[in-house]
């Protein structure tokens, strides 16, 4: 990559759209989403759920149940009673996690309740298995308070080697994660905070490298102060970003220490309050326009609406700026608009544009790593190790402005991330099992490769029926 603050612009497929065609992109995206939705309902009806439990031991005759169940199994129970950690070796606990949600903030759907959250959690379980080789059990729960949520997960924990919290409203997600992580002897993860933040940081590390910038010298604006961006801010500070050049912006403008709502935040969202004090607006007050002036980086993770970030915001940034517009499904600014306003590098949360910042690049491998290390926790060092390894994975293949992060079609990076996570857990002294890097890597390869074999074998044996043809689509609009 030539040294340049603004790499040469190569029009990509999205970039070829003319100005004024952005609405078409929005419309197309909406139409596509509707089509996928109809098909998803059809298939959900056909398959009646996405996962099932399958025995992993031979059952030659009913006599074998004397081994797998009573009376033989009593000896296994006694062994675990004597040493509870042996559950990780004598049962499936080592590879089983719970996906727990209260259904209070599911996708972009809001508070839809635990029953309606189940298909999403099943989908997540499928991703965990296929991408990470992790057995994940969907557990949507009906609870009325964060304390009840915490108590419920504490009660469930003995069955699991890890907990994945999912789709919980901000800011209560912070307190729930913090308390569970402190109380449980197993890793607890909240993807909307950690997964998104880790993928964002990975993309940013490569974007900085591509534009020859270094973390301590950049001025960064985070638009949106929800679950993901508050953690991104924390991780950036841990990576050495100066708090004096880090500006968070929410609906009320720049988040600084003298803002009128700080007292309310101290009570209702102490995590946001702490970041407000730590950064004090990066030395600025005012609105988004005041924040972005001369900024090198804009990381937007706010409400999905184009025009939240306008071309003049990008133009006001430093030369060759980095713009991540991560709102889904509609980014805060369309990539082509950001590029024509001078953005050197643009990333979004969507798979149909280059540079997708996708937490699926992170969470399966993180869990593979912590489960293989039988880790007790997932501290930020582990999250950062995963982010750095993801960034390295893209760099190994060659960084370009359109290849900032590996795509889902580059699965070779996942075992590497898992091994980096395992190594970090060992180094931090939170691993129950201390494997070498090669052992972690080998194990991750084997376990992450197995689901594809299973899926193929089940399909070949017609135990998984082939997908039925799509029903003819009802027309939404008359031409």
């Amino acid at each position: 990559m030539a040294r340049s603050a603004s790499p040469p612009v190569e029009p990509h497929r999205a970039g070829r759209r003319k100005p004024g065609e952005t609405e078409t992109a929005a419309e197309r995206s909406e139409d596509q989403t509707d089509q996928l939705g109809e098909r998803s309902v059809e298939l959900s009806r056909f398959y009646a759920g996405k996962i099932e439990t399958v025995p992993k031991v031979p059952v030659r005759s009913l006599g074998d149940f004397a081994l797998w169940y009573t009376p033989g199994v009593a000896a296994v129970s006694r062994a675990i009673q004597a040493n509870p950690d042996r559950a990780f070796e004598l049962t499936g606990r080592w590879n089983t996690i719970a996906i727990v949600t209260d259904g209070s903030r599911v996708l972009g759907l809001g508070d839809i309740g635990p029953e309606a959250a189940l298909p999403v959690m099943e989908g997540k379980a499928l991703l965990f298995k296929v991408l990470g080789g992790v057995d994940a059990i969907p557990v949507p729960i009906r609870v009325r308070s964060p304390d009840e949520f915490i108590a419920t997960v504490e009660a469930l924990a003995p069955a699991f080697g890890g907990i994945n919290l999912e789709d919980i409203a901000s800011p209560k997600c912070f307190g729930i994660l913090e308390k569970l992580a402190n109380r449980l002897p197993i890793p607890v993860w909240h993807d909307d905070q950690l997964g998104t933040a880790a993928a964002t940081v990975a993309g940013l590390l490569n974007a900085l490298a591509l534009t020859r910038r270094s973390m301590p010298e950049v001025r960064t604006v985070l638009l949106g102060a929800g679950a993901a961006n508050l953690v991104t801010a924390r991780l950036l500070l841990e990576l050495g970003h100066s708090p004096h050049t880090l500006t968070l912006v929410d609906q009320k403008g720049i988040l600084h220490a003298d803002r009128d709502d700080l007292d309310e935040l101290e009570l209702r969202n102490p995590w946001k309050y702490r970041i407000a004090l730590a950064t004090d607006g990066g030395g600025r007050t005012g609105d988004l326009a005041a924040a972005v002036a001369d900024a090198d980086v804009l990381l937007a993770a706010s409400t999905p609406k184009p025009g939240t970030v306008r071309p003049e915001h990008v133009r006001a940034m430093a030369k060759g700026p980095i713009v991540f517009a991560l709102a889904n499904p509609v980014p805060e600014i369309w990539p082509e608009v950001a590029e024509s306003a001078g953005a050197a590098i643009v990333a979004t949360g969507r798979s149909d544009f280059p540079n997708q910042v996708n937490n699926s690049l992170i969470f399966p491998a993180v869990f593979r790593g912590v489960l293989d290390a039988r880790a007790r926790a997932i501290p930020d060092e582990v999250v950062l190790a995963a982010a750095k390894e993801l960034a390295r994975g893209a760099a190994l293949k060659g960084l370009t402005k359109h290849h900032l992060l590996p795509t889902m079609e580059e699965p070779e990076v996942f075992p590497q991330i898992a091994a980096a996570v395992g190594d970090t857990a060992v180094r931090l002294g939170i691993a129950r099992r201390k494997l070498s890097h090669e052992e972690f890597l080998e194990r991750a390869h084997a376990l992450m490769g197995r689901p594809a074999q299973l899926i193929r074998a089940l399909a070949r044996a017609r135990l998984t029926p082939p997908m039925p043809r799509a029903a003819p689509r009802k027309r939404r609009r008359t031409p």
Binding site: A257, D258, D263, E264, E266, L267, R268, L277
Partner: protein, 178 residues
């Protein structure tokens, strides 16, 4: 609300170089304009704890009058806190307290801390501790033999702050709408 102070008292030479020092002095008439928004922030915070503490429309005018009256009142203590360095002339917090008669109980004079508010960047790091000590001394100098503090019952941060410093509830005030 001053938050929980646990570090050393900054005004007497803190070991933490990053701690923002605070300078306390008796408030003057000229401080009223700077004190009014701080007092209003405190009252709005109190409203967060309980709807029965809903802030009145004319609260700003009330705040101005009350502060003016207390600054000239020998039975009141109003201390203004200034920052140092770049914030040397900025009022970053204040405390307001009254000395009241206790007709039935001994000691006969009670110093009541009515309001303490510090801007977020000037909390913790021993600021609360320092302000409480200075205020207690000022109230004692005016004859108080006991110091009390009033704050919303739901304000657990304030409750913890005072209980760590030897305070305990002695009177409960309960309320309902009419």
């Amino acid at each position: 609300m001053s938050g929980e102070g646990s570090g050393k008292v900054r005004a007497s030479g803190s070991s933490e170089p990053s701690a923002p020092p605070v300078h306390l002095r008796p408030a003057r008439d000229a401080d009223v304009a700077a004190l009014v928004p701080l007092l209003l922030r405190l009252k709005r915070l109190n409203e967060e704890f309980d709807p029965l503490l809903k802030v009145r429309e004319d609260a700003e005018q009330q705040a101005r009058q009350i502060l003016k009256a207390d600054i000239g009142n020998p039975k009141a203590v109003v201390l203004a806190a200034e920052g140092v360095g770049a914030d040397r002339d900025k009022v970053v917090g204040f405390v307001r307290a009254h000395v009241r008669e206790r007709p039935f109980y001994a000691p006969e004079q009670e110093g009541v801390i009515l309001d303490i508010y510090f801007l977020p960047l000037y909390r913790r790091r021993g600021v609360g501790e320092f302000v409480l000590r200075e205020t207690s001394n000022a109230l004692k100098a005016k004859g108080a033999g006991i110091v009390t503090a009033e704050f919303p019952a739901q304000n657990e941060i304030a409750a913890r702050f005072y209980s760590k410093r030897g305070f305990r509830p002695i009177i409960a005030v309960q309320a309902r709408s009419l």
